[in-house]
C-alpha cells in the first residue's frame, strides 16, 4: 500500500502524471511534479487558443480550452486542504501517542533511529486525505465494463480502512469511466466469438517468448495488420502497453541522447526515459514555444560540459493526454522535428481508434503523413478492448527492436485470444469485415463526444481539453467534492472516475469521463441529467464563460450544432 500511493487515486489503471525530473527517485518525483505545477501556475491562461500563428499547418479548427481556476475557488480549495491537513496532524499525533490504533505501516521499534520512512508528504497524504475518500477507487465490478456494468456493493464500518462486500450487486450502472472508446469491450458479438474460437484453437497461455516457442501465426498476422492499419512499413506487438513504452525507449535512446518530454506524459514514458539513461528535459504541456526553445538550446549548446552535439534528440509526446483531454499539436511538432532534425516518439494510447475519420489516431485526425512520425506507439487496451501495445515505424526500426527490446526478448508473448480480439476489432474499424459497423462506431463516438462536451459546457461546468477528445475532465477542485461527487454519482447509478493529487496538481482535482461509442443517447442524457443534478447539489458549475463569450464562440458553436443531427 505504501509503496505505490502515487497511483492510488486512479481506478487501478494508473495514469499517474509526473514531470520527468532527472534525478528524483521513485517517491520523489510525484512531489516534484506538484511543486512544478504550482510554480508555473497552470497552462497558457485564457482559454480557447484556436490555433495561433501556425494555423496553416492545421486542416481543421483546433479548439482547446483550459478555463482558468476562479480565484475564490482556488482560495477555498487551499483552505479545505489546510483544514484537512490540520486534522491529519491531529490524527498522526494521536497515532504517535498510541491514543488511536495505527492502521498503516509504520517503522518498527528497532528502526526508530533510522531515516524515517513514512513521514514524507505523500505518505501523510495517503494516510490522512486519500484514506477518507478511498471508497471511490478500486471498486470491484463484476461484469464486462461495457456501456453498463455491474458493481459489487461494498460497505465500510471503519471509515474506509477496511471494506466488506454486502453480497449485493448494483446492476446496470452506466459506465462513464472505462477507456472503451469504440465499445469493443464486450462479451458478445464477432470479436468475442472470434476470441473464443482462438481460445479453443490455441488455448490462453503461450508460455514462451517471441524468440522461442511463443511466436504464433496470430502474432505475425496481427503485426502485419497493425502495420497496414497505421500506414507504416512494419510493426511489432507487445503483451503490455506500459512495458511497450518503458522497455522500448531504453533501447532507442541512451547515454548522450537527449529526450524532450511533455510535462504531462504518462508514467510509462517517464519511466522509459529514465531507464534509458538519456538526459531528460521537460517542456510545458503542448507548448511549442517551450519545445522549440529546448530544441534550439540543445543544438546550440550540445551536451553539458563537453559541448559535444547530442547523439540523438527524441521528442516524446502523447496523442490524447488522458488527464487533460488535450490533443497534441502534431503538425507543429512535426514541423519542429523536421526543422531541428529530431526524432519523434508518439504515444497514441488514447488516440488510436478514438480520433480521426478512419480511427487511425492523431495522425489521421490532422491528416499528416504517418512516415513523418518516427516511432508510432500505441496500446490495444483502449479502443480495441484488448490488451497490449504496439510500435510501428520503418522496417529497420522494428527489426532493431525485435532483437534489442527487453519486452520482446524476456516477456511471454501475447495471449492468442487477445491477439484475435485485436485483429477482429481492427478489421472491423478498417471495414475489412465487410460491414460498416466500424465506421458507425467511429461516427457514434465523435457524435457522442461532441454532444457530451457541448451539454456539459452549456450546463456551466469547467471542462478541459480539446473539443474532439473523448476524454472529458470536469473540474471539481475541492477535496471534499472529489469524494462527494463519486458517491453521489454512484447513488444515481453512474460509475465515474474521480482523480486527485498526485495524478493532477493539488488544486485541480477532477472527474474524468470517457465517452464511448457504446453509449446511447439515452444513457448520455441520463448521465448528463445526473451530472447536472449533482453539479447543482455540489455547486460545481464554476464556469463564467457560458454567457460571457457567446460571440467569441459563435462560429465554433455553429460548427458543433451542425454536427449534432
Amino acid at each position: 500500500m505504501i509503496e505505490n500511493s502515487a497511483s492510488k487515486l486512479l481506478n487501478g489503471d494508473t495514469c499517474l502524471r509526473t514531470s520527468n525530473g532527472k534525478k528524483s527517485g521513485r517517491n520523489g518525483f510525484v512531489k516534484k511534479h506538484c511543486l512544478h505545477q504550482q510554480q508555473k501556475c497552470h497552462r497558457p491562461k485564457e482559454v480557447s487558443h484556436i490555433v495561433g500563428h501556425n494555423a496553416v499547418l492545421y486542416n481543421k479548427p483546433f479548439v482547446e480550452s483550459f478555463e482558468e481556476t476562479p480565484l475564490l475557488v482556488a482560495v477555498l480549495t487551499y483552505m479545505g486542504y489546510g483544514i484537512l491537513t490540520l486534522f491529519g496532524y491531529l490524527r498522526d499525533f494521536l497515532r504517535h501517542w498510541k491514543i488511536e490504533k495505527c492502521r498503516v505501516a509504520s517503522e518498527r521499534d528497532e528502526q526508530k533511529d533510522f531515516v524515517p520512512l513514512y513521514q514524507d508528504f505523500e505518505n501523510f497524504y495517503t494516510r490522512n486525505l486519500y484514506m477518507r475518500i478511498r471508497d471511490n477507487w478500486n471498486r470491484p465490478i463484476c461484469s464486462v465494463p461495457g456501456a453498463k456494468m455491474d458493481v459489487v456493493e461494498r460497505v465500510t464500518h471503519d471509515y474506509n480502512w477496511t471494506f466488506e462486500h454486502t453480497g449485493t450487486v448494483l446492476k446496470n450502472v452506466i459506465n462513464m469511466g472505462s477507456y472503451n472508446y469504440l465499445g469493443f469491450a464486450e462479451n458478445t458479438g464477432p470479436c468475442a466469438d472470434s476470441a473464443a474460437e482462438a481460445t479453443v484453437k490455441y488455448g490462453v497461455g503461450v508460455s514462451g517468448t517471441r524468440h522461442e516457442i511463443g511466436n504464433l501465426d496470430k502474432h505475425e498476422e496481427l503485426e502485419k495488420l497493425v502495420a497496414r492499419f497505421l500506414g507504416v512499413e512494419s510493426s511489432m506487438a507487445f503483451g503490455m502497453g506500459f512495458a511497450t513504452n518503458s522497455m522500448n525507449i531504453p533501447s532507442l535512446a541512451g547515454k548522450g541522447c537527449l529526450t524532450l518530454s511533455d510535462e504531462l506524459n504518462h508514467a510509462s514514458l517517464v519511466l522509459g526515459a529514465r531507464l534509458s539513461g538519456s538526459t531528460i528535459r521537460v517542456f510545458k504541456h503542448n507548448n511549442m514555444q517551450s519545445l522549440e526553445k529546448l530544441l534550439r538550446d540543445a543544438i546550440v549548446h550540445g551536451q553539458p560540459r563537453t559541448h559535444r552535439p547530442w547523439k540523438k534528440i527524441v521528442i516524446l509526446v502523447e496523442g490524447i493526454y488522458s488527464m487533460e483531454g488535450s490533443i497534441v499539436r502534431l503538425p507543429e511538432v512535426i514541423a519542429l522535428k523536421k526543422k531541428y532534425k529530431a526524432y519523434l516518439y508518439l504515444d497514441e494510447a488514447h488516440s488510436i481508434g478514438a480520433l480521426g475519420p478512419r480511427g487511425r489516431g492523431v495522425v489521421d485526425y490532422f491528416g499528416v503523413d504517418p512516415h513523418d512520425v518516427d516511432i508510432m506507439m500505441g496500446t490495444f487496451t483502449k479502443s480495441f478492448g484488448a490488451s497490449g501495445g504496439y510500435i510501428g515505424g520503418k522496417k529497420e526500426l522494428i527489426d532493431y527492436l525485435r532483437t534489442h527490446s527487453h519486452s520482446a526478448i524476456y516477456a511471454t508473448s501475447m495471449s492468442p485470444p487477445v491477439a484475435q480480439q485485436i485483429i477482429t476489432s481492427m478489421k472491423c474499424i478498417m471495414g475489412e469485415d465487410g460491414t460498416t459497423l466500424g465506421q458507425e462506431r467511429l461516427r457514434q463516438l465523435s457524435e457522442n463526444t461532441t454532444y457530451f462536451r457541448r451539454r456539459l459546457h452549456e450546463m456551466g461546468f469547467i471542462i478541459y481539453g480539446n473539443e474532439n477528445s473523448p476524454v472529458v475532465p470536469l473540474m471539481l477542485y475541492m477535496p471534499a467534492k472529489i469524494g462527494a461527487f463519486g458517491r453521489e454519482m454512484l447513488k444515481r447509478n453512474i460509475g465515474i472516475v474521480v482523480v486527485g493529487f498526485p495524478a493532477t496538481p493539488i488544486i485541480e482535482s477532477r472527474a474524468r469521463f470517457c465517452v464511448s461509442a457504446a453509449h446511447t443517447k439515452d444513457m448520455l442524457d441520463t448521465a448528463l441529467n445526473a451530472i447536472s443534478e449533482v453539479g447543482d447539489l455540489l455547486q460545481l458549475k464554476y464556469s463564467r464563460r457560458t454567457r460571457l463569450s457567446d460571440d467569441e464562440e459563435a462560429d465554433h458553436l455553429s460548427y458543433l450544432v451542425s454536427y449534432e443531427d
Partner: protein, 77 residues
C-alpha cells in the same frame, strides 16, 4: 410548508459548508471538534464585539464631541 422549505435550505447550506471547508470527509467526532472550535471562535468574536464595541464607540463619540465643543467655545471667543 415554509418551515419545511426553510429546513431544506438550512440543510443545503450546512452541506455546502461541509463541502467547502472539507470537513465532509471527516469522521463525526472530528466534525464536532471543528464545529465546536469554529462556533466558539465565532461566539467569542461576537461576544467581544458586543462587549467592547459600544465602549469604544462611546469613547470615540466623547472624544469627538469634546473636540467639537472646545472648537465651539474657541470660536465663541
Amino acid at each position: 410548508m415554509d418551515v419545511k422549505n426553510l429546513c431544506d435550505y438550512l440543510g443545503w447550506l450546512y452541506y455546502q459548508y461541509l463541502l467547502i471547508t472539507g470537513i465532509y470527509v471527516l469522521e463525526p467526532w472530528e466534525k464536532s471538534i471543528f464545529n465546536t472550535v469554529l462556533f466558539t471562535m465565532v461566539a467569542m468574536v461576537v461576544y467581544t464585539s458586543y462587549v467592547f464595541v459600544p465602549i469604544h464607540v462611546r469613547l470615540a463619540l466623547e472624544f469627538f464631541s469634546g473636540l467639537f465643543r472646545s472648537h465651539l467655545s474657541i470660536s465663541a471667543n
